[in-house]
């Protein structure tokens, strides 16, 4: 094992930090960011309006933040995991009381300077917390009851808080991200089976918390043509937009479905549809490739990182990132119900973009400090 200074926890110089960046990952993110700016520009009807402007500004601010996070020692992120998690949990509880009501759900909290959606960041918070938790306990304790209960509680608390906002999509994504890390850490199949049975018996209770529109979304997914002008409208119009693009698409700013407003939520959840309508199969495959490349680079960093925290975090984040992408694409392609999940980086939305860039920053930090075992 070659000795370098990180072994002895000494900080790198700025130059060394730049040297240690994963440039494939960096440029993939940057490319995706630039594509997202064009997509938002097109989504605004070819005008540089409020949406496209604020998205651009946010992306570059968060991109700088990404560097700041990357250049911070991985040990710091490991040590502050619990703290970050607790702050986010507190914010989620505050949303319950002081949240901003919008379209029948309370998801936002006013932080004076900007409105903020804690549930989006909790997606990263839960990964941080569980990676840190399984980093600390020994491999033999993973399947002991006491060591199962703590992560279970830590996972369920934000899930329930988010689910009752109500925000089914984000709650499911948080749950999935957490479960994947627990499983990676070595929890037995049997325990998952028991918990799944318990979960399924609780589903009917959960459904009673669902708003009528959420119930109808699930029903509509099962048969979109049953209600072509209601909830099924979104899926049908999205499929029409994507299908009508053909191999090469209709060209930049020429997507009739988006331009003539047939496409719903084109800034946020359906941004991929808008992009796909303009750039066709070739363009869509390129985006899928770009997301796959990012996922692959994150996994690769997880593999070369020596700390368990870093491994669990990178793998966990890679899986979560992949899930966000595929859930969103599955949704707009009519493979999954419309649950309200943004596409990482491409979709409009500050909290979601912040969460992703923050998460990626920590991944990059793992890469820079890959030889740090955080004992």
């Amino acid at each position: 094992m070659p000795y370098n200074r990180s072994t002895f926890h000494s900080p790198f110089s700025i130059r060394e930090k730049f040297y240690n960046l994963d440039y494939t990952l960096l440029f993939s993110i940057l490319l995706l960011g630039i594509i997202s700016i064009f997509a938002q520009f097109s989504s605004s009807g070819g005008v540089f309006d409020y949406y496209s402007k604020s998205h651009t500004i946010r992306f570059f601010i968060f991109f700088l933040l990404f560097f700041a996070i990357s250049f911070t020692q991985i040990r710091f992120w490991n040590d502050s995991s619990i703290f970050i998690y607790l702050i986010l949990l507190l914010l989620l509880i505050m949303v319950k009381f002081y949240g901003i009501q919008s379209q029948g759900s309370k998801r936002w909290i006013n932080l004076i300077v900007f409105n903020f959606q804690p549930s989006e960041l909790m997606k990263i918070g839960i990964i941080l917390f569980l990676s840190n938790y399984y980093h600390r306990i020994s491999s033999g304790d993973v399947n002991k009851l006491k060591y199962i209960l703590i992560p279970l509680l830590a996972l369920l608390a934000p899930c329930i808080l988010v689910f009752t906002q109500p925000d089914l999509g984000t709650a499911v994504l948080i749950l999935l991200s957490g479960v994947v890390i627990a499983w990676l850490a070595g929890i037995r199949w049997k325990i998952f089976a028991y918990l799944s049975v318990a979960f399924i018996t609780l589903v009917p209770i959960g459904i009673s918390f669902l708003k009528p529109y959420q119930k109808s979304r699930i029903l509509t997914f099962l048969d979109p043509d049953s209600d072509p002008l209601g909830a099924g409208y979104q899926i049908i119009q999205s499929k029409i937009a994507i299908g009508s693009a053909g191999l090469f698409g209709k060209g930049f700013l020429n997507g009739s479905q988006a331009y003539l407003n047939f496409l719903p939520e084109k800034h946020t959840d359906f941004i991929f549809t808008l992009y796909s309508e303009e750039f066709g199969f070739i363009g869509s495959i390129f985006i899928v490739f770009l997301y796959s490349l990012i996922t692959y680079r994150i996994i690769r960093i997880g593999t070369i990182t020596r700390s368990i925290f870093g491994k669990l975090y990178c793998y966990g984040f890679a899986n979560a990132f992949f899930i966000y992408v595929t859930v969103n694409m599955g949704m707009v392609l009519g493979l999954l119900p419309i649950v309200g999940a943004p596409l990482p980086i491409l979709s409009y939305g500050g909290s979601s973009l912040l969460a992703i860039m923050f998460g990626l920053g920590i991944v990059m930090s793992c890469n820079i400090y890959k030889n740090n075992t955080i004992s």
């Binding site: 399984y134 020994s138 491999s139 994947v180 499983w183 990676l184 850490a185 070595g186 119009q237 499929k239 029409i240 937009a241 994507i242 299908g243 009508s244 693009a245 053909g246 191999l247 009739s256 479905q257 003539l260 407003n261 047939f262 796909s276 066709g280 199969f281 869509s284 495959i285 899928v288 796959s292 996922t295 996994i299 997880g302 593999t303 368990i308 491994k311 669990l312 793998y315 899986n319 992949f322 595929t326 694409m329 599955g330 392609l333 009519g334 493979l335 075992t373 004992s375």
Partner: protein
């Protein structure tokens, strides 16, 4: 401590890596699914979704193209199109709808009821969709609106075209157009994909049967619309195809003359070219104004038409069914001769009545005709003579002859409202009435009463086919470019040019592909001669209406179709037709051909509840025949000019 730590890390790493490998395999599968879905949507089903996307973004506003014109034989318009002035409104552009209607009320004729209806319609529609306030403004109204247009924001004056009928004489043949109804959409297949709002379509007559071709194909404006249906821009427009123009065999001049003749009575006349079957005139009365229907008939006028006892909407020439009365006697006589039942020399004694099996049958002439032969029986229309020969002939043979000459079946193919009538025989009665035939019914049938029902056009065709020497003709009213050459005229021309052709007449006939309706043409000639006597010899039933001028001289047969049989008491009292109530009076009939020397036209006249054929129907025929023959020359010129087959 360090060893434990490192072994802990190693075991954890092992588990993590193993499980991550599994998850990565799952990712590959998921990626493959997304790839497949994209390929399926964007490559396999791309065409389907492209169509759907176009369906989303394009809206077409269709408009009717000019309707095909109906012309008479000389190319004069019977039904054509005229400019109409319309007022449209786009609610989106209106500042205050109530104020606008108030202003409009001062400028044009607009009832409060109509305003209420329009407001309701505006509330239902998208605010940018056009609504028609009035589709037929008079010019003064239209110009007034144009003058104040700057105060009427949202109003659009539009010049369009609509159907117009020059006069009402041909209304029953031509029919009328009116706004499309739900029922039309259900019953007429060709309208299913038309999608032109408020289009006027043919409802009756030729307007109905030629509707599909006369509509042409509608034009359209294609707009791109957004998800809310608002028009963004016009993408394309198409003028559509003008409807087909049809020429008919009718003579507008004769139509108007005939309509004038029967103006105030309930009647029908038909005039037919006896060689090619061209219907020169077909008029039914009373008429109605077809223009009233084009822009929506008002309730009062519609109720007036519906409640008229003379049924103005019915084309009596083809849809009115009447017993043929004595006009059938020419067929009874022909049938008797053709079947060799008796010779023309056969005589019967008419005492004014006859007893058959205990029942009394009357002649119209109370005193009787005395001893009478066939020629005089036709000339004077003796009922007793025809009772006797019909009895000897039998109903089935009579029915055969009647059907051969066109009774009991539709004459034209173009009219859905045409009726086929009834030629009764023993089989018909058994199947329709479920009873056996009585001999008494044969006697009634022999003089055209009983179950017999005919249309005036059928009687005209019957007469035409006798007048042309007994050859079958195919009547027509619409000139079709594909009509075959008329072989009957060619045959007659050939006979004139080659009077000494050594081939037998039968051979010649078959050379010209003619269908003779006789066994022996002598019989036909005998009937024609008897009809001549009826009209031109003293004592004939229509002698009073004769022409002495050979140019117009005609041969005819009168008839009265009985509505109510006279009782014995009425007979004794000598009650006349004029004395009974209108609805119980007989229908007056007259059939004829002219000119006698060289027959060219056949005519039938029916006057509902007119009384006797000789006093009411024949005088009308007399005047009409003169006009028809006067216009023969000009018709021939037109025929040669247009190259149509005579």
């Amino acid at each position: 401590m360090f060893g434990f730590q490192s072994s802990n890390i190693v075991s954890k790493t092992k588990t993590i890596s193993r499980r991550m490998f599994f998850l990565n395999s799952c990712k590959a599968v998921i990626l493959f699914v997304i790839f497949g879905r994209l390929a399926s949507l964007q490559i396999n089903k791309s065409k389907k979704y492209k169509t759907l996307a176009d369906k989303n973004r394009f809206r077409e506003t269709k408009f009717a193209s000019p309707r095909g014109v109906i012309e008479d034989y000389f190319g004069n318009d019977i039904a054509s199109n005229e400019k109409v002035y319309q007022l449209h409104i786009i609610p989106e552009n209106v500042l205050n709808i109530n104020e606008l209607f108030l202003k409009l009320k001062n400028l044009i004729n607009l009832s409060d009821k109509k305003i209420l209806l329009l407001k309701k319609r505006i509330a239902k529609q998208k605010s940018w969709d056009t609504i028609v306030i009035s589709d037929n403004l008079r010019w003064p109204e239209f110009s007034r609106v144009n003058l104040f247009l700057h105060e009427l924001q949202g109003i659009q004056p539009v010049v369009s075209i609509a159907r117009v009928y020059r006069d009402s004489a041909s209304v029953h043949v031509i029919g009328y157009v009116s706004e499309i109804s739900q029922n039309d959409l259900k019953t007429k297949k060709y309208l299913a994909n038309l999608n032109v709002p408020n289009i006027a379509i043919g409802k009756t007559g030729l307007e109905s049967t030629l509707d599909e071709k006369m509509l042409g194909s509608p034009g359209f404006y294609r707009y791109e619309v957004n998800a809310y249906g608002k028009k963004i821009r016009q993408v394309a427009n198409n003028k559509g195809l003008k409807g087909k123009t049809f020429r008919t065999t009718l003579d507008q001049n004769i139509q108007m003359f005939a309509a004038k003749l029967i103006e105030n009575i309930s009647a029908a006349v038909c005039v037919m070219d006896i060689y090619n079957g061209d219907i020169v005139s077909m008029v039914s009365s009373p008429v109605f104004n077809p223009n009233s229907f084009v822009h929506g008939i008002d309730k009062k006028e519609w109720e007036g038409i519906l409640n008229d006892k003379d049924h103005p909407m019915i084309n009596k020439a083809i849809s009115g069914l009447y017993p043929p009365g004595s006009t059938i006697k020419i067929l009874t006589a022909l049938s008797v001769l053709e079947n060799d039942v008796v010779s023309p020399k056969f005589v019967v004694e008419c005492k004014g009545y006859i007893d058959f099996y205990g029942e009394k049958y009357h002649c119209w002439k109370k005193k009787g005709h005395g001893v009478i032969g066939m020629r005089r029986a036709i000339k004077q229309s003796c009922d007793i003579y025809f009772y006797e020969v019909a009895r000897r002939l039998g109903i089935d043979k009579l029915a055969l002859t009647a059907k051969k000459f066109g009774l009991g079946q539709k004459v034209l193919t173009r009219f859905k409202e045409e009726k086929s009538g009834v030629v009764p025989d023993t089989k018909w009665k058994l199947s329709e009435k479920g009873k056996n035939w009585y001999l008494g019914e044969t006697l009634h049938s022999g003089i055209g009463q009983g179950y017999f029902l005919t249309t005036p056009l059928q009687l005209c065709l019957m007469t035409a086919q006798l007048a042309n020497g007994g050859f079958k003709i195919k009547p027509r009213i619409v000139i079709d470019d594909n009509d075959k050459a008329n072989s009957l005229q060619k045959f007659l021309d050939y006979r004139k040019a080659n009077p000494k052709d050594i081939n037998s007449i039968d051979e010649q006939i078959s050379n010209f592909n003619l269908k003779p309706l006789f066994k022996n043409q002598e019989n036909i000639n005998f009937i024609k001669e008897a009809m001549f006597a009826s009209s031109n010899e003293a004592g004939g039933t229509s002698y009073g209406s004769r022409y002495n001028d050979k140019q117009f001289m005609f041969a005819g047969k009168t008839g009265s179709s009985q509505i109510k049989k006279f009782t014995e008491e009425q007979r004794e009292a000598g009650v006349k037709q004029q004395d009974v109530t209108y609805m119980d009076r007989d229908h007056a009939l007259f059939v004829a051909f002219a000119p006698v020397q060289d027959p060219k036209y056949a005519i039938s006249v029916l006057v509902e509840h007119g009384g006797s054929g000789s006093s009411v129907a024949a005088p009308i025929a007399k005047q009409l025949i003169k006009r028809v023959i006067e216009r023969h020359e000009i018709r021939i010129i037109q025929t040669n000019h247009s190259g149509q087959n005579v």
